[in-house]
C-alpha cells in the first residue's frame, strides 16, 4: 500500500484558531497519511499553531482535528502514540541529556526504559555527550536531545516544528536520514519549516500554509512545477543598460523589460533557468559588463504570495 492510498492518520476538518482579532489558522481542511509531510509557510503563517492543535496542546476555535480517528484534546492514552518537538526549547538545563531522555520515557511509561533511552540517544548520535548537563550543549545538540526525548517512546506520529533550526549541515543530513528511516517504517511525520529547500529534501507531500490558510497541498514536484512556471523579476545592473535591454527583450524566456530610474534593468521572465544561461552570453556578445544580477522576488513570501494570488485569480 502506498502512502497516497493509506488511510489518513491525521485529519483536520475546517480547523480554525483565532486569538482575539487575529486569525492564526483559517478554515484548514487536510489529511495526513503515513510518510513525511512538509508543512511549509513563511513566518507567522500559522504553522506552529496548526501543529500544536494537531498535538492537542492548543485549543481549536472551530472545526475538528483527529489522530487515528480519535480527538486529540484531553485524550491521555493518545500521548503514547504521538510526539511533538516544538520550535522553542523545552529542555531542563540542569539535567544531563540522558536524564532528560529518561524523564521523557518515564512520563510516557516506556517499557524497557534503559534500552529505549540508549536507542533514542544513539539515533541522534549524542551518546558521547549524554552525561553532560544540557545547559552546556550547543543549540544543535539541544535540538538533537529534544528529538531523542521525542523518539524515546517510539511514536507512530511525529510532529516537528522547525526542527532544523540551529543544526549544522552534517546534522541536517543525519536528521534527514533518520526521518526517512522512520517514514519507511510506516510512521507519520509532519515537519514544518519556512525554508523551501529544507522541506524539499525530506518531504514526499507538502502542505503550503499562508496567512493561516492552506494555499496548496499535494506532491512536492507538482507544487514545484507550479513555482517554476511563475514569472520572476530579475534586476540587472550593467554599464550599458539600454543596449542590454534591447538584446534581452529578444529572448523567448523574457516577457518584459523595463529600465528603472537608477538606470538598472528589471526583467520579467517565466524561465529563470534559461535567463541565467543566456544573460552572460548576451552581455559578452554586446560588450556589456554585468555588475549585479539579483532576483527580486525569490523570497519564500513572494513564492507563497504568487501561489495565493494565483489561486484567487
Amino acid at each position: 500500500m502506498t502512502a497516497a492510498s493509506a488511510a489518513p492518520v491525521i485529519r483536520a476538518e475546517r480547523l480554525s484558531r483565532w486569538f482575539g482579532n487575529i486569525v492564526a489558522v483559517n478554515d484548514v481542511t487536510l489529511d495526513v497519511r503515513p510518510g513525511i509531510t512538509g508543512l511549509l509557510g513563511p513566518n507567522g503563517a500559522g504553522k506552529s499553531t496548526l501543529i500544536r492543535m494537531i498535538a492537542g496542546l492548543a485549543r481549536v476555535s472551530s472545526g475538528k482535528v483527529t489522530v487515528f480517528g480519535e480527538p486529540v484534546r484531553n485524550n491521555p492514552p493518545l500521548a503514547k502514540r504521538i510526539a511533538i518537538m516544538q520550535e522553542h526549547e523545552t529542555v531542563y538545563g540542569f539535567m544531563t541529556g540522558r536524564r532528560f531522555v529518561r524523564l521523557m520515557g518515564e512520563l510516557r511509561q516506556v517499557p524497557r526504559l534503559d534500552e529505549a533511552v540508549e536507542r533514542a540517544i544513539g539515533q541522534v548520535e549524542l551518546l558521547d555527550a549524554a552525561d553532560r548537563r544540557i545547559r552546556t550543549y550547543s543549540r544543535g545538540m539541544r535540538q538533537r536531545i529534544r528529538l531523542a526525548g521525542a523518539l524515546v517512546h517510539d511514536p507512530e506520529v511525529l510532529l516537528l516544528d522547525e526542527p532544523l533550526n540551529g543544526a549544522d549541515p552534517k546534522q541536517r543530513i543525519q536528521f534527514q536520514h533518520l526521518l526517512r528511516r522512520y517514514a519507511a517504517e510506516g510512521r507519520t511525520i509532519v515537519i514544518s519549516s519556512h525554508i523551501l529547500e529544507e522541506i524539499e529534501r525530506v518531504a514526499d507531500t507538502v502542505l503550503l500554509l499562508v496567512n493561516g490558510k492552506l494555499a496548496a497541498s499535494g506532491d512536492f514536484r507538482a507544487i514545484r512545477a507550479a513555482l517554476n512556471e511563475r514569472p520572476y523579476h530579475v534586476l540587472v545592473a550593467c554599464d550599458s543598460p539600454r543596449a542590454l535591454a534591447a538584446a534581452v527583450v529578444q529572448l523567448d524566456s523574457v516577457e518584459a523589460v523595463k529600465l528603472d530610474p537608477a538606470g538598472r534593468i528589471v526583467i520579467l521572465s517565466r524561465n529563470v533557468l534559461d535567463l541565467q544561461l543566456e544573460l552572460p552570453r548576451l552581455a559578452q556578445r554586446n560588450s556589456v559588463t554585468l555588475r549585479r544580477v539579483v532576483p527580486l522576488d525569490d523570497s519564500l513570501e513572494s513564492v507563497f504570495g504568487y501561489l495565493v494570488d494565483g489561486g484567487e485569480r
Partner: protein, 237 residues
C-alpha cells in the same frame, strides 16, 4: 507520578527559593528570640497579635507559598516545558497532584519548623500550644499553596494578583471587615489553632474546629478540581 513529583521538587529546591523561604521562615524565630532577650515578660497576647498573626500568618506563609507554588506550573509555563508533562498518558489530576504535593511539602516542613521553634520559645515549652500553632501554620501552607498553584494556571499575572490578594484581602479586608473572615484562608488556619488549644488566639471570633477542618478540606478540593479543569482546557505553551 514519581517523576512529576521529583521534577517539581527539583524546582522547589532551587537555591534561590530555599534561601528565600528559609530567611522568611527564620524571621519570626529571630524576632521572638530578640524580644524575649530584651523583655522576658513580654505578653503572649502581643506575641500572637504581632508575630503569629501579623508576621507569620499575614506575610511569611503567603509569601513563601506564593514563591514555591510557582514551581508547580508557573515556571513550566514560563520556560515552556509544560508540554513535556501534559503530553503524557496520565490523566490531568495525576499531573496536578504530584506537583501540588511537591510545592506543598517543602514550605510546609520549613514553616512547620519555624512555627514549632518560635511557639516553643514563646510559650515556654507548652507542647499543646506548640502543636496547635504548628498545625495551624501547616494548614495555612496547604491552603495557600493550593490557591497559588491554581492561580498560576489561571492567569499569567499570578504573582501580581497573589500579592494583591495577600495584602488587600488577607491583610486588610479579612482583619477589619466583619464577615470577610469567613472567606479568609488565614482565619480558618487560626480557627484550627484555636480549636486545638483554646487558650491560643483567644481574642478572635473563631469558627468551630470541625467546621474549619471541613471548610479547609473543601477549599483544597475545590481548588484542586479547578486546577485540573484549567489544565484540561488551557492552551499549553
Amino acid at each position: 507520578m514519581k517523576s512529576l513529583f521529583l521534577i517539581t521538587l527539583r524546582r522547589v529546591l532551587s537555591p534561590a527559593r530555599l534561601v528565600m523561604t528559609g530567611c522568611l521562615a527564620f524571621a519570626p524565630f529571630a524576632v521572638t528570640w530578640m524580644i524575649l532577650r530584651v523583655d522576658e515578660g513580654a505578653s503572649l497576647q502581643n506575641f500572637e497579635t504581632f508575630i503569629l498573626n501579623g508576621m507569620l500568618a499575614g506575610a511569611i506563609i503567603p509569601l513563601a507559598t506564593l514563591a514555591t507554588a510557582r514551581a508547580g506550573f508557573g515556571d513550566e509555563i514560563s520556560d515552556r516545558t509544560l508540554a513535556n508533562v501534559t503530553l503524557t498518558p496520565y490523566s490531568r489530576w495525576k499531573v496536578v497532584l504530584p506537583k501540588l504535593l511537591a510545592v506543598t511539602t517543602v514550605p510546609a516542613l520549613i514553616i512547620a519548623a519555624s512555627a514549632a521553634l518560635t511557639s516553643h520559645m514563646a510559650y515556654g515549652a507548652d507542647f499543646t500550644a506548640t502543636w496547635a500553632v504548628t498545625l495551624g501554620a501547616v494548614v495555612a501552607v496547604i491552603l495557600y499553596s493550593t490557591l497559588f498553584v491554581w492561580l498560576d494556571l489561571a492567569t499569567p499575572h499570578a504573582i501580581g494578583i497573589g500579592l494583591a490578594y495577600i495584602v488587600v484581602w488577607e491583610g486588610l479586608f479579612s482583619r477589619f471587615i466583619y464577615g470577610v473572615r469567613f472567606l479568609s484562608l488565614r482565619s480558618y488556619s487560626f480557627s484550627i489553632t484555636h480549636g486545638m488549644d483554646d487558650r491560643r488566639m483567644a481574642d478572635g471570633d473563631h469558627t468551630a474546629l470541625g467546621l474549619s477542618v471541613v471548610v479547609a478540606v473543601a477549599v483544597v478540593a475545590a481548588l484542586f478540581v479547578l486546577s485540573v479543569r484549567r489544565l484540561r482546557t488551557m492552551d499549553v505553551p
